[in-house]
């Protein structure tokens, strides 16, 4: 007898429902001896391509279908709208579950029904709210038949369908009427019976069988599978709870312990139950199931063309003509335009490239991409090719990119070659702020029906899994949040290992038995898809049949979005173009606009000479915060050692600064050879050619190809294949066995071959595509040039578009160090974004209009409790010789010289309205449009801010200039207005507006009487202290504007003898010193030893301080490093370059704790107590556990290093750390960094 076929199967791509991935389901079906398997995920075809690939690999026939919510026709309005959308990236979706009463149908594509299935899914998403697709019987009727009425889809009416619900409710009349309606609407409709051994399941199934017989419709048996194994139902329960936002309780759960992929024998048992032992009915049921499967089996290659070699039909855009001559003539024209007509090399290379492109039938792809890049440039958007596509001469000649591959020695084989499977990928960088404009333009040109963005699946990782499980287990939300954030960004399955391995977690309250179940379950969610999101750059450009090839839903921003990810899209033969928004391009565009506005000069950035000494001097001194690609602590150290002086040096620098090269120790030999400490070594003189540019060290992929080619003579295309294989140990072995004899045949002696192989073995997999690096180096140089010569404008761009890793307050510190003034928010001067203001005079003096110009007077009113935990008394004994009060100069006091500092003098940055927490775009629009304002009432009336926003603006001094206010000084000033008086007045204005006193609509700029409805007496409330002002700035703006926070601790820091950053270079190597500062960044990069090393960067207002915490000290320091914001650390000075110093940390303390101890009365507190604490020898605890991940060439790295992609650093706009700490993101925490662990008070 033919095998049973599962027609109703949900994989993990049924979000928060299924638990098994398509390949595992297919493998299980194959193990059961089944020859066909369906995948019918909920709400979409997210997993279908992977299902078809897996079926093809296992030799099964694939069936594709979908499980959709069914609604009645007249029920178009959304019902039961779910409360709140959860999820971190915002692009969240659920299944719109309406509890047990939800109706669903399963729809299968018949053998020729793939197109209609895609269109049906698209229509379902179009009909529903985003993330809540549904179909009606009418929609199904419309899609279920082809042009001449032939059936294309099969509709399965199961126990969850309207028919099934009626049958379960014993409403036979209704069930019959529904069945008749279905039969009239859809040509191929069958009844689906299922039995999960739940109470009455078998009865319902028997009833439905009776209905099918009554109607003369076929009935099929399914298991509505959602698991691979019975035990997976626990995960299913957790997902049910997470999906429904309900605690785990039998009431909310589906009975799913039987909903696994049962064997044919088990299904025969189910059939027997359902048929009540009637053998012939049973046989008929199974035979009908089989017949449906047979008419739905799909041809895998038709849907996934890349399964065959050469690939099946690709789906290229319509370009209105034969693409082959079009591309040829465009390239010919390019040869002329680029002045390469007479170059034999160029002509030969062009002919070779076109030959491959035409044989792969890809001409239309290049023509289409060229049309799109033309269009983007025509819109005035900065646009550059990136990645391997820069290696193709065709791309250069067709005008897609501006990099001449011949000039830079770039190879096309890295991009497209005979032996390379798959479609080439052209990546284009545009200004991030214009990326969506570019998408819209592409949509406009090709029409919505032919364009879709690519999606990506966000999967469960440790933090998200803990969140969902914690909620399901009924833990309070704030506790769930704190627990989740305590973990670094690791995989969910590492949770319990991390608790044991990492000292900061091991000694926290998290190692509590009560949380054991939460963690155990969270681990089980590891890697399951959680929600779908828009891919950051992929755009599909297809033809009129695109909607027959991929289902499309709407993204958060309302773009049409394919349900396929980038891999699926390629497998499905669809053309993709990556249009990546690059924030640095926007930042630089903003800078250029500001320069023009303030100085009246329009700079042509691409025309700026690439050999500016001042720019390279700045880079060599490591002053690169804010610059593209070279601002991280590690890069600052590397540029200081490498001392780049040319664009080529920058290309090498960028290529070297990657985990592979750093760990394989490519850096040291390169630096030694570069600086002449060591002679470059070459395995053979023939390798001089490819390796000379990097002193004998393999840095680029292109060099790997050339080395392989030189040694074996295999040609670059084969060499590229070999290079790709070097990624895995097995591949390396295979390449070795191929390489050694071939090189021997070419006449190289065994020692040379062995030496050359060692080079490939060690570095081959880690090289960097030179085309990538070349594409990066240009904006790197340009950003550095802007920073050096137009510091304020450049930093305005950086602050506005946030291109880098550092939060605003760090950029602001850098601005101060460069001599750029920082001007407070001012309702009459601030703009939408960061703006540059010219300081009067060209001297280094503070800007004339400085809001906090004087040194504050002595302290008073001690004992005031402050959440910053700094008392106003701190201000008293502060050193008078340091001009901390100045917005302009706080960082560069003590004699700034041109080299280390003030190249930004003469300009200042104005805090913009958009920096205010919670301000809406519409409010910003009104605030800018209404300028100037004459009073708080005027501002309130015409800018119409919300009350909290108005209060925040007053709190950070937005009205100080108007009223001549200044925080600090005597707190009580009867008769003189204070910020707090104004805040009270905002409250009065709000109350009178609410009471209807305010003039409606008409916004004549008059002093409204409401300002006096509740009269606020000037000086009635005390002025803010300086500490309070800074605290407000941190809370409202996320940065300390008026002064650096560390300034509040100067007295204590001096008392304990802390060394300032600017004096570090004067410390002798090996000295043990104390340093202090504000945390700027923590990173745990992959390092060669396989340790988890924590790099901490502090800032003490005179410069950055880089510290390294090795595992030996992490037992007593890790929790403090991750959990504090202001730190004091003890470390040993290590000179790493002529101008570079870093510290090997021995111990560290939370400065806030030290401060509190210092203030406490003796004997507990006081300076001696602080000194005693600092001198204590730390207890040696356990180190960091976890087995390092080991690579074939001996390269090891800690499982807790920053391996994965960096977390969305700027998604976390609100850093909800300690309740007592400011609520904005104040430092950079890499993916391997843990969060604070002290919040859990159990």
């Amino acid at each position: 007898m033919a095998s049973f076929v599962h027609l109703h199967v949900a994989s993990a791509y049924s979000l928060r429902y299924g638990t098994a991935f398509p390949p595992a389901l297919v493998a299980r079906a194959a193990a059961h001896g089944m020859d066909t398997l369906a995948l019918t995920d909920r709400d979409g075809l997210y997993g279908v391509i992977k299902h078809i690939q897996a079926c093809h690999a296992e030799g099964l026939a694939p069936i594709a279908g979908v499980d959709l919510v069914l609604r009645a026709h007249d029920h178009h309005t959304a019902r039961g709208r779910r409360a709140g959308v959860h999820g971190e990236a915002g692009e969240t979706r659920g299944d719109g579950s309406a509890g047990d009463g939800e109706r669903r149908v399963v729809v299968l594509a018949r053998a020729d029904g793939w197109g209609p299935l895609c269109r049906l899914v698209t229509a379902a998403h179009h009909a529903g709210e985003r993330g809540e697709p549904y179909v009606t019987r009418e929609m199904l009727a419309e899609h279920a038949r082809g042009p001449s009425g032939e059936p294309r889809l099969v509709v399965l009416l199961g126990p969850r369908s309207d028919v099934g619900r009626a049958a379960a409710g014993q409403r036979d009349e209704e069930a019959r009427a529904l069945l008749a309606a279905w039969r009239a609407a859809v040509p191929d409709v069958v009844v689906e019976v299922t039995d999960h051994y739940g109470y009455r399941d078998a009865n319902v199934a028997a009833r439905m069988l009776g209905l099918a017989d009554w109607a003369g419709l076929p009935a099929v048996l399914t298991n509505a599978a959602r698991h691979l194994d019975p035990a997976d139902h626990q995960v299913g329960n957790v997902l049910d709870a997470a999906r429904r936002l309900a605690p785990l309780h039998a009431r909310h759960l589906e009975q799913s312990s039987q909903a696994y992929l049962k064997s044919g024998e088990e299904m025969a048992g189910v059939a027997e139950r359902v048929c009540g032992g009637d053998r012939s009915r049973m046989a008929r049921l199974l035979a009908e199931t089989r017949r449906v499967a047979e008419r739905c089996a799909l041809d895998p290659v038709e849907i996934v063309p890349l399964l065959s070699d050469p690939p099946g039909a690709l789906h290229l855009p319509e370009i209105g003509g034969d693409p082959v001559p079009m591309l040829r003539s465009r390239c010919e024209e390019g040869l002329r335009r680029r002045g390469m007509e007479r170059s034999k090399e160029a002509r030969e290379r062009l002919a070779a490239e076109l030959d491959i492109i035409e044989r792969k039938r890809l001409s239309g792809y290049f023509v289409a991409v060229a049309g799109i890049t033309d269009m983007i440039r025509g819109m005035g958007v900065r646009c550059a090719i990136r990645g391997s596509g820069a290696g193709s001469l065709v791309n250069y000649l067709a005008g897609i990119g501006e990099v001449n591959p011949i000039e830079h020695g770039l190879l096309m084989e890295r991009f497209l070659s005979e032996g390379r499977r798959g479609l080439p990928d052209i990546d284009v960088d545009v200004e991030s702020a214009r990326r969506l404009d570019c998408y819209r333009a592409i949509l406009g040109r090709y029409g919505e029906a032919q364009v879709a963005c690519v999606s990506m699946m966000e999967t469960y990782r440790a933090r998200s899994a803990i969140r969902d499980v914690g909620s399901a287990m009924g833990l309070p939300p704030h506790e769930v949040d704190a627990i989740a954030k305590a973990f670094p960004h690791i995989r969910a399955k590492q949770i319990r290992a991390a608790l044991a391995d990492l000292p900061e977690l091991r000694d926290s309250g998290l190692n509590d038995r009560s949380l054991e179940t939460v963690f155990r379950l969270a681990e089980k969610l590891d890697g399951l898809p959680r929600h779908i999101a828009l891919h950051p750059c992929g755009v599909l450009v297809g033809n009129a049949a695109l909607r027959d090839r991929t289902p499309v839903e709407r993204s958060m921003l309302d773009f049409p979005m394919s349900q396929f990810d980038k891999d699926d899209v390629e497998e499905a033969g669809l053309l993709k173009l990556d249009v990546l928004g690059v924030r640095m391009q926007s930042a630089m565009a903003h800078a250029l606009d500001e320069i023009e506005r303030v100085d009246g000069v329009r700079i042509e950035l691409d025309a700026v000479p690439r050999d500016d000494t001042d720019t390279y001097d700045m880079i060599c001194s490591g002053r690169t915060i804010g610059c593209f690609q070279i601002e991280s602590p590690g890069q600052r150290e590397l540029v200081a050692k490498l001392e780049p002086r040319t664009m080529h040096d920058l290309i090498v620098d960028i290529s070297l600064f990657r985990p592979g090269p750093v760990n394989s120790d490519m850096v040291t030999p390169y630096l030694e050879a570069r600086h002449g400490f060591r002679r470059p070594s070459y395995a053979h003189e023939e390798l001089h050619g490819p390796l000379r540019e990097t002193h004998g060290v393999v840095v680029f992929h292109e060099q790997v190809l050339k080395v392989i080619d030189v040694m074996t003579g295999c040609g670059l295309s084969e060499a590229e294949k070999a290079r790709r294989a070097l990624d895995t140990p097995a591949g390396r072995e295979a390449v070795h066995d191929w390489f050694v004899p071939l090189a021997g045949e070419r006449g190289f002696d065994p020692a040379t071959v062995e030496k050359a192989w060692k080079v490939l073995d060690a570095f081959g997999a880690f090289g960097f595509c030179k085309a990538h690096a070349a594409a990066f180096a240009l904006p790197t140089y340009q950003s550095a040039w802007l920073k050096r010569h137009h510091t304020a404008a450049f930093l305005a761009g950086v602050l506005t578009h946030e291109p880098g890793m550092y939060p605003s307050r760090v950029i602001l510190d850098e601005a101060r160090r460069c001599g750029v003034g920082i001007l407070a928010l001012d309702v009459n001067r601030s703009g939408r974004h960061w703006r540059v203001e010219k300081a009067a005079g060209e001297t280094a003096g503070p800007p004339p209009e400085e809001p906090y110009g004087e040194t504050p007077e002595g302290g008073e009113a001690t004992g005031e409790s402050l959440t910053l935990r700094v008392r106003p008394g701190d201000l008293g004994p502060r050193r008078q010789d340091v001009d901390l009060g100045g917005g302009a100069d706080s960082g560069v006091d003590g004699g700034p010289d041109g080299e280390t500092g003030g190249f930004g003098r003469g300009y200042a940055l104005r805090v913009p309205f958009s920096a205010v927490r919670g301000v809406s775009e519409a409010e910003v629009d009104r605030m800018v449009a209404g300028q100037p304002y004459t009073s708080v009432a005027d501002f309130w009336d015409r800018a119409r801010p919300s009350r909290p926003v108005a209060e925040r603006i007053v709190e950070v001094g937005g009205l100080d200039a108007m009223y001549g206010l200044r925080p600090g000084g005597p707190r009580w000033r009867p008769g003189r207005l204070t910020r707090r008086d104004l805040i009270a007045q905002v409250g009065a204005l709000d109350r009178s507006s609410a009471a209807g006193v305010a003039a409606k609509g008409d916004t004549a700029a008059v002093q409204l009487p409401m300002a006096f409805a509740e009269r606020v007496t000037p000086g009635e409330l005390p002025e803010m202290t300086e500490a309070e002002a800074v605290e407000a700035e941190l809370a409202v703006l996320g940065m300390d504007v008026s002064r650096h926070v560390i300034g509040f601790h100067d007295e204590l820091l001096d008392a304990i003898g802390v060394v300032r950053a600017r004096d570090l270079l004067r410390q002798r190597n090996g000295a043990e010193i104390l340093v202090a500062g504000v945390k700027v960044a923590t990173q745990t990069p992959a390092v060669r030893s396989g340790q988890r090393v924590i790099f901490l960067t502090l800032d003490d207002s005179t410069g950055p301080i880089d510290l390294t915490f090795f595992e030996s000290v992490q037992a007593h320091t890790a929790a403090t490093v991750f959990g504090s914001w202001l730190l004091v650390a003890r470390g040993v000075v290590r000179r790493t370059g002529a101008r570079a110093v870093s510290l090997r940390a021995l111990n560290c303390w939370n400065l806030v704790d030290l401060d509190e101890l210092w203030r406490a009365p003796p004997p507990r507190g006081g300076i001696d107590a602080v000194r005693a604490l600092l001198d204590e020898t730390p207890e040696s605890g356990g180190g960091v556990g976890g087995r390092p991940i080991e690579y074939g060439n001996g390269y090891r790295l800690s499982p807790y290093s920053d391996i994965g992609p960096a977390p969305g650093v700027r998604d976390a706009a609100a850093f909800l750390a300690h309740p007592a700490e400011p609520q904005r993101r104040l430092w950079h925490a890499s993916s391997g960094s843990s969060g604070p662990t002290r919040t859990r008070g159990r």
């Binding site: 399941d201 626990q234 009975q255 799913s256």
Partner: protein
């Protein structure tokens, strides 16, 4: 349904059950042997595993059967616990 008495009695007595072809065939309750004539219903309920510390507390399988001792026939509900491997007679309509 099927003339069965509406009223049932709850017991919860441990019993011994003989299983044939994956279904109960006969059982001994209070020292009497009952032959199962027909399975009327069978369903399975997963345990509320999150309330226990066991990794897999298993499931409970319920059987409602028609069984008799001699000429008298009654309906009985049996329960098998996969974790403890034990049978209970839950209730009886007799």
């Amino acid at each position: 349904m099927g003339g069965r008495s509406v009223l049932s009695r709850l017991y919860g007595d441990p019993i011994e059950v003989w299983v044939r072809d994956g279904r109960p065939a006969q059982f001994v309750w209070r020292d009497r042997l009952y032959a199962i004539r027909q399975v009327q219903d069978h369903w399975v309920v997963a345990r509320e595993w999150w309330k226990t510390s066991d990794t897999d507390p298993g499931e409970r399988r319920f059987w409602r059967v028609e069984a008799g001792m001699g000429p008298g026939v009654g309906t009985y509900e049996l329960r098998f616990d996969t974790a403890s491997r034990g049978w209970l007679l839950l209730r009886a309509w007799d």
